[in-house]
Amino acid sequence: MSLNDDQTFRQRHVLHALLRTAHKLRQISYPSYMLEMGRHNMSNLLVDRVSKKYGTVTALHETSLSVDAGEFLTLLGPSGSGKSTLLNLICGLIDPSSGRILIDDRDVTREAMNKRGLGMVFQNYALFPHMDVRANVSFPLKVRKFASQEIKKRVDDALGAVQLLHLADRKPANISGGQQQRVSLARALVYQPKLILLDEPLGALDKNLRADMQYHIKQLQRERGITMIYVTHDQEEALSMSDRVAILSDGRIQQIGTPSEIYFNPTSLFCAKFLGEANIFSGFVQSSAEGTNVDIDGNLLPASPGPLKDGDPADLIVRPENIIVSHDPRRGFIQAFVKELAMVGSTVKIRATARLSEERAQEITIQTLNRPHMPSFEGTFWFGWNREDATVIPALQLPLASHQDQPGR
């Protein structure tokens, strides 16, 4: 009966459940840095309890991170959250206030930037304006005193990889922004660094070009097995490109995990809201025979197990696309009234008012696949979700006992 319980959705849910279990196992009571050390074997980069203070301002609190060889890790966060600081600490542009940085098991904390052998792509491209495209891409090879035939071969290869061979004689000022960024990428590829850092590389490009470049970067990264650390404040970009995403705010990594882990199992309200729309229901934890629930005025909403005990105030988080919609009342489902319904191509977006209890109503957002037999919602429907699709996190604020208005967060 429900509108989106088809095969692919089921498979995805199973996959998520597995990922979650793996995630939970990794979390058992080790301090985070030990966990990161545990993954150390195949790692390309290890950031070990690194912090950065500017006088009284802490740009980055003690942070540990390990990045595997060939991994694509994104640092995602709002402006001022410490993304660039972390990246600049890794490349050696700034010195940490504490901690160590290891690249390929080599402690580079005190090593100069030009000895670390990294590649970097800047948001403003940082192309040398007095050199043509070929000279720009040759630069790192000339620094390394490569023979001129070797330089030509490698530069042709790198420019070919970004499809810019035909512009090799142009000055940076005479090519477009997208082309400049591709030159910058070629320049980072040409000396084959194992680790490339990219600081909001697509920030200055328009939307179509961004999508193009995202695909391009991802393809090169995969083909050549390069480790990339990619900074962005664009959630979609982070989720679509990354093997793992680290969400930063206020100079801390708030959560790190695969895109689906962080999207479907946020560990904080901040992460839940930052990654997109989330339905958040506030109540108290209440276990039952079926598993963990969140109790809202006696109504038990199902959730996957979390680090909370009965009676703890909690927020239950469900993504709009995980909500199952039904035309008939079902056990455990909640009644709701359509407020707004918009078809967005293959999906339908519904805003509705959910009656959580006699006294409490709350606005919810639902996104579901558009079907030919999709009835027009008039008035009432019922909704629920699979237990494993809902996450509970500790509530910072006590939920209001009973009222029409919602806790103001």
Binding site: M113, M120, F122, A126, F128, H130, F139
Partner: protein
């Protein structure tokens, strides 16, 4: 704002040209004089000739002064530039609290009256035995011209994005390599303009050169100054003309260079 304010009426045009003429004519009057009578300076010249120039080419003392001025100008320009470029680069990239103070100190030779500067240098050079020696005048003129190169390079640093240097470092370049291959080429125009001005400063400089002069070491402006006082030879007009043309040429080249730098393509 009304465009009328900016539209030059014929009265303002006339006024501007009059001011320019007032400023330039006394300078330009030497040009016709230099093509006149080689015995006595009379305006307007009764006959036209290049005989004064022929006299100049034949006069060893004047030619010695000219080559001396040229030598000192070149040497002091090179010295001033070699010090000013790293100084401006370092100061621009520095975040030190005393940045402004250092900037002020570096600019003093351009701010202090030349006579005071000349006296100071003279008294000091007397003690260390540099008066009357070429190397002394080179150093003195380098000090005198330094602020002009320094200021030109400092303003040029605005166009040298620090990210370019960072990019070079990440790609393996040492600070020195990046300075030579990235910073210097981007500063080339500013350095050239600054150096041209520095050369002109030294070549035209009279007061310091007069203080430090000896009979073997008389620069062109000092010889002109002496000549005006003692013999007022017509050769003065020829030398003045040549100096004026040279100064104009250098100012034009430097000015065009700076103007083009401020408007990147």
């Amino acid at each position: 704002m009304s465009t009328k304010l900016f539209k030059a009426s014929w009265t303002t045009t006339l006024f501007s040209w009059s001011v320019l003429a007032f400023l330039l004519l006394p300078t330009l009057i030497v040009i016709p004089l230099s093509f006149g009578d080689p015995v006595e300076l009379v305006f307007p010249p009764p006959v036209w000739s290049v005989r004064i120039y022929n006299q100049l080419w034949a006069d060893a003392a004047w030619l010695n002064s000219a080559t001396l001025s040229l030598r000192i100008g070149l040497a002091s320009t090179v010295l001033a530039t070699c010090i000013a470029v790293p100084a401006a680069y370092g100061l621009y990239r520095s975040s030190s609290a005393i940045r402004q103070l250092v900037y002020g100190l570096f600019m003093t030779p351009a701010v202090v009256p030349v006579v005071v500067l000349a006296l100071g240098i003279y008294l000091y050079f007397v003690r260390i035995g540099l008066v009357g020696r070429e190397v002394g005048l080179v150093v003195a003129h380098a000090v005198y011209a330094f602020p002009f190169v320094f200021a030109a390079v400092l303003s040029g640093m605005k166009d040298v994005d620090q990210n370019l240097e960072r990019a070079a470092h990440v790609m393996g370049a040492s600070h020195f390599y990046a300075f030579i291959h990235i910073v210097l080429p981007l500063l080339a125009r500013s350095i050239t303009a600054g150096a041209l001005f520095a050369f002109l400063m030294s070549f035209d400089e009279t007061v310091i050169a007069y203080f430090l002069a000896s009979t073997e070491m008389t620069t062109l402006p000092v010889r002109m100054f002496q000549s005006v006082r003692w013999d007022s030879t017509p050769i003065l007009a020829a030398v003045s003309t040549l100096l004026t043309v040279l100064s104009f040429a250098i100012c034009m080249v430097a000015g065009i260079g700076l103007a083009r730098k401020s408007k990147p393509s």
